[in-house]
Assembly symmetry: C2
Homo-oligomer: 426 residues x 2
């Protein structure tokens, strides 16, 4: 059925500039964008109009890297760097998710707060626990959001409370792959080795076979921290680079891989990631919190890497993607004060918005834009009245910087209005 | 009269560490902190207890640099640097404040949102308009907050809509000095030359005389942007540094001066600011937004400069000081990736919190701590339940990073509960 959504429409078909239609209409047929038009001509006289005049209508946000079980620890421990932070906070937190009741309670909150923030699609790490991960997948299915979720695999260099045998890890992964395929049509399974240091070669090899056999996507961490890069070199002296370890074990399927951080990529790795059409999840807030570094976003864009955004909760401290859009811009400005980077133009608003919408959305299909044929994933935003005469683009900027996710009034996924999840149970 | 506030008490008597009392009491007599105790002994058996068990009780926030009339433009124009941004947004916005009705409407919102964010004291630039500035001072008096407010002076290098004669600027300033002394006991006047490029030598000299005569504090901008520094050098070739221009004209009274930004201070300027006991308003968010630079906070602290925090709205995009505490830490982490700064330890949470509370508060008197003799300026915060067993310090960190000003439940200024301003008129 055809519908028209009326409002001030803004999106980014390309990273270079916004496409804007003030007081226009998005025509949506069976959940898919058919056209964006300035007025409804005679042929559309009968089309029902959902009138959001005065509001911004923008694509939904996509978070390409988030750790669902870490949500309870968001905002903790930032006087630490990565490896001590993992030991002192993350592993203690994740171990609590062995209990499915803990998982149930906190995963509900996680999903509600993603909904609140307008994050309609995301790629999440769970924990290694099969029952709790399955709870997250069921709850996500119920929420109306459309994520990819992975059980974390870790069979080495992990604390006793968070380690599994290689065989069990593979068997549990395959169980969840089947269950998701049968029972959660809107929630996909993504293969999720935590990172190279916590997965043995045998486990990576087994996961690579699952990826090939079931044609699955993969997510992991890459080149986040210089100590971590050195550690991988020690663990895999026969493989030239960290990125190639994933490739070697079949964990970099072309166009179906997301790698978080990618701060310290060398030339060979950049070329490999481009060749494999890897989505880089740029986690600018996390990268400062844990003093990991500043990812050279401009260089990556210039060479054709696909850069999307990740909140990386809980190394990032908030889910709200407006904050990550802004932080990616701020980080690109900070980078210019580092010698050798002075001439790298900071990210412009349109580029950062593109990363959070169309680039991130492309990992999920035709998502993140209002071009014809895209899923209608949309947010209705009321950013408040203005003293100055502002363009639609300026109102979007004010929403992203000064108002944030709290200004979102409605969320649509694939053409369906998504109400607050679990509202009847609160 | 003596009262006791019960809760989880945390504050920073020094920047080095938090003082914490879980489930303790702040004893307050006639608005002033008398003591912080773990239990109420027999001598306090009759003292009324305001029971906020389970909540954090922390000092109020102090914002040492904010432009009240720029609040409507918060979050706009950050694809620009400072000087084009001023032309395209700020001067257009500020010119609208010639109309006292515009001022009335937007200054109310500004004050309500500061209250919401727990900013109980602040030092604000208004515009050059006398009537509108006086409206801000009256509204601030009514709000229950305790700011310093200055009419901006600008008689050169400003657009036609925002320029005044030297004589008028001085006369209007003196009018407001008198009016504030007579009618707004909780709102002080602060002399506010916009910055050297927009004030002639004659105006600066006249303002210096007012400062000396009325024993007033001063606020301005200093060394924000390298183009601005070069401009000041061209304007005042006979004075060796930018900071010394203010000093030369009597605009750096010892212990009563706040200078915003101070990114590019040279050695002579650093020594001068230390000697004059200048409060540096560190505006880390603004400094990235406008690509001004990253202030070397650690170096300044190590040499004994007094560093407080400023939101610098609207070059900073939010009022909420929790965001500026976090951003000051993030900026100090970014700085370490710049050669020559690798060994500068990033700001720790306690240091950044100290800047926003006790250091900033010292500009207003004995404010920003719960040591004996301090004004009881306090926030009651309910940061939500926790999965992990968290210390009071960790709960504070989670509030500052992940929850923000929205988690503040009550605000006390000088011992008095401050209700939402103007509530009856909304």
């Amino acid at each position: 059925m055809l519908k028209a959504y009326r409002g001030d429409i803004i999106f980014t078909p390309t990273p270079q500039e916004f496409s804007v239609l003030e007081d226009g209409f998005v025509l949506v047929e069976d959940g898919t964008v058919k056209d964006v038009v300035g007025s409804l001509g005679a042929e559309y006289a009968e089309v029902p109009v959902i009138d959001r005049s005065g509001c911004l209508i923008i694509p939904g946000f996509n978070d390409l890297h988030v750790h669902a079980p870490q949500y309870p620890q968001a905002g903790l421990g930032f006087d630490c760097e990565l490896l001590p932070w993992l030991d002192r906070y993350t592993f203690v937190d994740e171990a609590r998710f062995a209990d499915p009741d803990v998982a149930e309670r906190w995963y509900r909150r996680f999903l509600v707060d993603l909904w609140q923030a307008g994050t309609l699609r995301f790629s999440a790490f769970a924990t290694l626990h099969t029952a709790s991960t399955w709870r997250l997948m069921e709850l996500a299915q119920e929420s109306g959001l459309r994520p990819l979720i992975g059980k974390v695999n870790m069979d080495r260099n992990a604390p006793d409370s968070l380690i599994e045998s290689t065989a069990q890890s593979l068997a549990d992964t395959e169980t969840l792959i089947h269950r998701a395929a049968e029972r959660t049509p809107n929630v996909g399974f993504i293969v999720t080795p935590r990172f190279v240091p916590s997965t043995t070669p045998e486990l990576m090899e087994g996961l690579g076979e699952l990826v090939a056999h079931y044609h699955l996507p993969v997510q992991s961490h890459l080149d986040e921290n210089r100590s971590e890069v050195a550690w991988v070199r020690d663990l895999h002296p026969d493989i030239p680079t960290y990125a190639q370890v994933y490739e070697h074990y079949g964990l970099m399927p072309r166009g179906r891989t997301v790698m978080a951080h990618c701060i310290w990529l060398n030339d060979a790795e950049r070329a490999l990631l481009r060749d494999r059409q890897v989505t880089v999840a740029h986690c600018a807030q996390s990268n400062l919190n844990l003093q990991s570094g500043i990812m050279p976003a401009r260089r990556y864009l210039d060479m054709g890497l696909q850069v999307a955004l990740g909140s990386d909760v809980a190394a990032g401290h908030v889910l709200d993607m407006t904050r990550h859009i802004v932080m990616s811009i701020e980080a690109s400005k900070a980078l210019r004060f580092i010698p050798g980077h002075e001439d790298e133009r900071p990210l412009r608003l349109a580029e950062a918005f593109y990363m959070a919408t169309k680039q991130g959305g492309s990992f999920f299909g035709r998502v993140g834009s209002f071009e014809s044929g895209y899923d209608f994933d949309a947010l209705v935003v009321r950013e408040g009245d203005n003293l100055l005469d502002l363009s639609v683009e300026e109102r979007l900027e004010r929403f992203l910087y000064a108002k944030g996710g709290a200004a979102i009034e409605e969320r649509y996924v694939d053409g369906a209005l998504v109400p607050r999840p679990f509202a009847e149970k609160e």
